[in-house]
Amino acid sequence: MDRMTLPPEKPTSPIGKAIPRKEGPRKLTGQAKYIDDLDFEGLYGITVRSTVARGKIKDIQFGQGIPWDEFTIVTAKDIPGKNYVALILQDQPFLADGVVNHPEEPILLLAHPNKYVLERARQAVTIEYEKLTPVFDLEESLKGATKIWGDDNIFKSYLLEKGNIESIWSQAELIIEDEYHTGAQEQLYIESNGMVAVANAKDGVTIWGSMQCPYYVHKALLPLFGMSEDKIRIIQTETGGGFGGKEEYPSIIAGHAALLAWKSGKAVKIVYDRAEDMVATTKRHPSRTRHKTAVMKDGRILGMEIQFIIDGGAYATLSSVVLSRGTIHAAGPYHIPNVRIDAKAVATNSPPHGAFRGFGAPQSIFALERHLDQIALKLNMTPEDLRKKNFIKDGQKTATGQTIHEGVSMEALLDRALKHTDYHAKRKQFTLDNSQKKIKKGIGFASFMHGSGFTGSGEKYLASKVGIQVTGNGRVEVLAASTEIGQGTNTVFSQIAADALNVSSDFVEIFQPDTKHVPNSGPTVASRTTMVVGKLVQSAAIGVRQTLQTKGYLKESYSEEELRQACIKYVKDNGDLKIIVEYQQPPGIDWNDDTYQGDAYGSYAWAIYVAEVSVDTTTWETKVDHFLALQEVGRVIHPVLAAGQIEGGVAQGIGYAIYEKVRWHEGRMINGTMTNYIMPTSSDLPTIEVLFEEVPYEHGPRGAKGLGELPMDGPAPAILNAVAMATGQQIKSIPLLPEDLMRASL
């Protein structure tokens, strides 16, 4: 649909207004039904997992004292179709068949009507292994001495080149090299994963569950059962947070529940408890980044060589695309004439790492923004002057050769953020005070951008579809597979559709994501829902209005009541009215998958985050005292939801920086409880101040861009830059716990 047909925004438009969250009342009264809340009759399912990191399964023993004949037991042999989780590669089995490649790998499934008996049975299964040499360390995997995946342990490599990096080293006045590390991070949605399945040959497979991407689950179950598309139906129930953690893993749980349902002939529910969810499901990829930078004494960066390595765990899953986003963001919002980024995702014998808000970018941006502060120090420049020398400006090209023309000035954003936080005065004051005090204060910042939507040609290949249908009672319903997981999809879609129809948002209903009834609008990931899918919602709504008008049911200008009557009359006369629109790539976007050059993203959100910290040298604890998040995100559709996304992301970023450490032992997380995996409480976080700048993006609905992942990128480098200011310690690894800061300082 053409933009021209969108009427100018009226003062009554819900766009930009803080309307109540669409599903708010049912969530606030305990009436929202999450997967474990549904009325359920059937069997409970449970997963028996590997206790070793790598080995051959020699024997499975079913212990004494359990009425095994009452159980449904499923192994790899019971799989009716293909035993792989369809995603990108086909290397991960639903159930280990002969070999295991990571701790907690699913081996067999049990179902029983009694939860307590079931748990006892799980503990009574003993599996014997012939152990194989595992690899737990990213460096060891890179060396390739022990091969655990493919020929070389490498899931994916990219080599991104701009200019000629080799020509530049001799011209540089200074070459600065360093290495940075980031740890794994648990998504820690408060609703753990869960699925209910019904499966039989006649009706096919139906799944209800907590998920971000119904069509990913759909895709994964097709080969598992070897059924036709219409026989597999996936329904998203209310979902208690995702953050990427419910992007790919739910396919596995759905498959497991379906296999048990298939064999038992009964409905089966699998709901993970917290301990299982934490140890068995995905985490953010740990990373190691090496920077070698050619600079001039005046601060100009001539070239950057970056080696970016992520640890993918035992199977390929989404590592290649996580690596891609991390690689593209590795050179940041700077104009660097010569760049080489050598990126690899490698295998280790840990549970596969997966999607988590930011998707590779927080890792590479942490390295870059810490590195720039170190360069500034070595050049005896301020961090802000160094960045101002190198910020990318409209008309200049990114590392992938994308010409930026968004009308956003990073320099102006930086000035605003520093002024707002009284940065210069504080820096002076803290420097003065710190030598006298046991509690050292610091202030630091990070500058970054984050691409909205799928990378490169991703959106074109996805070819997402959205529908809007008119109901017989005179309302319109949005049909999309984009899920509400707390971030506000329902509310934002209703605003966008209502704006296009010139009605209030109450007029618009959101259809529950259900693959039987909604088209595939793509996964709910990659900061794409508002910008990409929202644009389709807008187009479909325009289509509804135009159809009603062209067919004479609606005048050129109309009241809400007139639209209601028009809808009722149309349905009465003609039956359903359903408009489905498909994504069309905006003109001027060009991406080459082979060279990895071109327009990596349709647009970017731009940000400056400023952190103020205190470090208590008695205990080496770091506390964030104040946090400013200033960003340009295009048009803000809903100010409260948008700020809520930023605040929540910053909170996760603060956790990533100084609290949340996954402790590993032989590939297994050993602190998999909420007591020992430390996410911040309300007493730990500072006031998080959120400021927006709005430069409308012409291809987003009413100018909106994506913003969901952005806030994950900036906190860690901003905080560690502030810690460096406070203590003089150049910490290059996160999470930074008091123990680490003590060791660095003593």
Binding site: E119, T618, N676, S683, D684, P738, M742
Partner: protein
Amino acid sequence: MRAFVPEYEMKTPENLNETLQILARHPGEWKVFAGGTDLMVVFETGKLSHKKYLNINHITELKELLVNEEDVMIGAGCTYRQIQDNPVIHKEFPMLVDAAKLTGAVAIQNRGTIGGNIANMSPAADTPPALLAYDADIILLSTKGYRVLSYKYFHQAYKQADLRPSEIIMAVRLKRNQGMTHDYYRKVGTRSAQAISKVCMAATASVNRQRKIEWIHFGYGSVGPIPLRAIRTEHFLFQKELTPELIKEARKQILTEITPIDDIRSDAVYRREVAGNLLVEFLESIKV
């Protein structure tokens, strides 16, 4: 829920006397269960090996908090909430209020009891360091009568204490007017709330006009197998003049007295460093 719930028993005796009778009749068969904030966590993981519990959470004699002229008697069943709300404890034993406020958060403080905090015998518990620094007594009760024990002798080894199967902890006794003029409580936890301590120190002291130390007690958590009263460091400091040199020496002394370990929350090196720093922070804060 990983426990086999149906195999656990819980019965609710009418009163204190009946509770003691049951414990005396079958020593070790039944264990008492108060606010449940520790036991239920273990239960959930399927690792609660004992299966039979006597619910004592309703027993009013254990919930009394008596302020006498000489002492304050805190019934073992008093919750962290009750402790925080008591004005005399607030005024005279503020470290106990700090400890209570830093144990879990509101919902835990409403249920968890001081008796439970002691009986759970965790070296990382938050109230024991304060109780040790106040030189508290505990009162143990069985059908045979009372037993009063200085709390510093209660804990014996990891998860072992001077508590017989037929006994329950009746109360904690805090002596009033002991004359210490300085106190210090600091819990260094994994975060600001809902945290388990990495190191915790409570201390009380009195120093005369000549800066001579006339009273000094240290209670430590998470630096060894039991909540530690640092008696050797106390002896070292007692009757000495508080000087910067002495503080340095005391720091060395405390490091010989603690035996921290590496675990899932921290490591021994950090614990030693911080245990020493807290001691220094306290002693340096003493102004005459």
